[in-house]
């Protein structure tokens, strides 16, 4: 098998804007899946609404393109009914932590053995560039012309409300760390969340002063630094992984197990 076999290349070019970061996530996910032996017989994708949600249509897997914000209850139920399947959620930051925020809190609490890849572009891109829950304070958007008034949601803190969960922060520029995080998250025996900073040049980047997608990627390169070894909490613009303790069997009874 090859990475290309994971993708419906006959549907390319994708619907995503030139310079979008989502394709970088899809390509790395396909590569990791290939390495781990994940295929359409043992793996299901669940995607949310937003640009990221289209990913399910471009991959050679069965895929559920859910309502806005509802990936997690759908994914959790699939895992419950079919514990032998790998269930991978791919969703944007708005879908996951704003409209789907309540499900995020409670899925983390129940610790189902599912993997979440969150394409975090700090904006509502598909709808044209409105403030999202992850938009940094002070950033101007089409719905916050004077700058976003509020501090962004602390995704790391939310995910780590469970002692059993896996949280990784990476960017699409840092392909090595992103690959490692996606692989570990799929293998993690419980709820795993990969928070991937990803550029939206068309509906965010240009407005806030970037000239190109490459400009945004270079910004990731210079701004993000690996967290010191042994960190138990990531600071802003740190790349790293915070792991809890894998849950006991009893704690995972509602989520099902791998076998």
């Amino acid at each position: 098998m090859a990475v290309k076999d994971k993708l419906k290349t006959d549907l390319f070019p994708t619907i995503w804007c030139p310079g979008c970061g989502i394709g970088l996530i899809m390509q790395q996910l396909a590569s990791v899946m290939d390495g781990l032996g994940l295929d359409k017989n043992n793996t299901v994708l669940v995607t949310g609404i937003g640009c990221t949600g289209r990913m399910g249509a471009y991959m050679n897997f069965e895929s559920v393109y859910t309502l806005h914000g509802r990936t997690l209850p759908v994914a959790e139920a699939i895992k419950t009914v079919r514990p032998e399947l790998n269930v991978i959620v791919v969703s944007g930051d708005g879908d996951m932590s704003s409209i789907g925020g309540n499900h995020l809190l409670h899925s983390i609490r129940r610790n189902p053995n599912i993997t979440v890849l969150c394409n975090n572009n700090e904006i509502y891109g598909l709808t044209g560039g409105q403030t999202g829950p992850t938009t940094p304070q002070g950033i101007a958007t089409i719905s916050s012309p004077a700058g976003s008034a509020f501090a962004p949601i602390n995704l790391q803190g939310v995910v780590n409300t469970s002692p059993n969960s896996y949280y990784a922060k990476t960017t699409v520029y840092h392909q090595g760390p992103m690959r490692k995080a996606i692989k570990e998250a799929i293998e993690w025996p419980g709820f795993a969340f990969v928070d991937i900073a990803s550029q939206c040049i068309e509906n965010n980047g240009r407005r806030i002063g970037f000239s190109s997608a490459n400009d945004m990627l270079q910004n990731y390169r210079t701004q993000y630094k690996a967290a010191p070894a042994g960190s138990t909490q990531l600071e802003s613009h740190q790349l790293g992984i915070i792991k809890g303790e894998p849950a006991t069997v009893a704690g995972k009874s509602t989520a099902g197990s791998d076998e």
Binding site: K8, T43, E62, L67, V81, N102
Partner: protein
């Protein structure tokens, strides 16, 4: 044969299990909560039956959609406010074509309303609650035995139509206890119809309008109309296998009473004076059957626990005026029916015996 006392809500759960249900997700809300509680008890004894008490009704309904796609016969139970929260996902289930059952044990709305006085005000919600056009199949039983029977039929119709089917009940019926022999009710169970996820194919289950290959069809009106007509006709065809209604009482009367669910039971003392038409399949409406029956009567009166939701439907269907007896604010009693009939000059001259076959008023 095991005759025993069974509650309406319990009969729904037992019917679901009989139909092969093996996934339940729900959120507590009176007067449906017994279904949630008994599903949890059933799950604790039968590990193949999976149970989730979700964080809210939105999670519940999306979980049963996911559970169904994964291969389970799935269901949830709620009441008016929770049913309102489920509407977006019900439309999604219709669009994608996902079999599942949603039980709505009605109380008085809108808003939090009157927890938990009985009502019948969610009829329009079961038909028009989600955005866009879709074809709902909805059943509303009248007895505890029928709660069991139509729970099974709801699962059967859901499988056949590949859509979310609604089973209506109400606070009165859900909490009604009757001596029944459920084992004596034999209904064939329709097996699973939708190929479960990870079938080896690469299907995309999408709430967005798409072509067969998964590409967006969001600007193609012809494709939309083609898919819409296909699903509409398929669901009407399935509904046509469930033309369930009751026609009886005094058929020689010149007045036809239309009542359904618990209201038909409360109205039982009217039997000597009026003919009765009771739709059990609420949606799609039983046009052929009701038009044929209605032609024989000078007057038609709809007695219902809402301000004319079904009466409006009947008027539109028959193109003639119908009289209305709305039972509002949870006042679902023979007295309220008498007052309503009196207001429109239809109270029978002979006084109605109160209470004989009518369940006591609740609240």
């Amino acid at each position: 044969m095991t005759k025993r006392l069974v509650q309406g809500n319990e009969a729904v759960l037992l019917g679901a299990v009989k139909a092969g249900a093996n996934y339940f997700a729900g959120y507590p809300i009176s007067p449906s909560s017994e279904i949630l509680a008994q599903a949890s008890v059933h799950a604790s004894k039968h590990p193949e039956f999976r149970f989730l008490q979700a964080e809210d009704e939105i999670a519940s309904v999306n979980a049963i959609l996911g559970g169904s796609l994964a291969g389970a016969k799935s269901f949830t139970a709620t009441s008016g406010p929770g049913f309102s929260l489920m509407q977006e996902a019900i439309g999604y289930g219709h669009k994608v074509g996902i079999p599942c059952v949603i039980v709505n044990v009605m109380r008085v709305g809108p808003g939090t309303g009157m927890p938990t006085m009985p009502g019948q005000g969610d009829l329009n919600q079961t038909r028009y609650g989600s955005s866009g056009d879709y074809t709902s199949i909805v059943f509303y039983p009248s007895t505890v035995a029928e709660c069991y029977e139509y729970a099974i039929q709801a699962f059967n119709a859901a499988e056949e139509s590949r859509s979310p089917v609604i089973l209506l009940s109400d606070a009165f019926l859900g909490h009604l206890n009757e001596v029944v022999d459920l084992d004596a009710i034999e209904i064939p169970v329709v097996p699973r119809t939708l190929e479960p996820l990870a079938s080896g194919s690469t299907r995309l289950f999408s709430g967005v309008a798409t072509y067969a290959d998964g590409e967006p069809a969001t600007a193609d009106s012809d494709e939309y109309i083609r898919q819409y007509e296909e699903s509409r006709l398929a669901r009407l065809e399935v509904a046509g296998r469930y033309n369930c209604f009751e026609y009886g009482w005094n058929k020689e009367s010149d007045t036809l009473v239309i009542a359904f669910g618990i209201t038909r039971r409360i109205a039982q003392p009217l039997a000597p004076h009026f003919a009765l038409f009771r739709p059990i399949r609420i949606w799609p409406t039983l046009d052929k059957e009701l038009i044929e029956v209605a032609e024989r009567y000078k007057k038609i009166v709809v007695i219902e626990g809402s301000d004319g939701q079904y009466a409006n439907v009947v008027e539109r269907m028959l193109f003639r005026r119908v009289e209305r007896v709305p039972l509002l604010g949870g006042r679902m009693s023979l007295e309220a029916i008498r007052e309503g009939l009196d207001r429109i000059g239809l109270l029978p001259i002979e006084p109605l015996e109160s209470g004989a076959e009518s369940p006591a008023r609740v609240g």
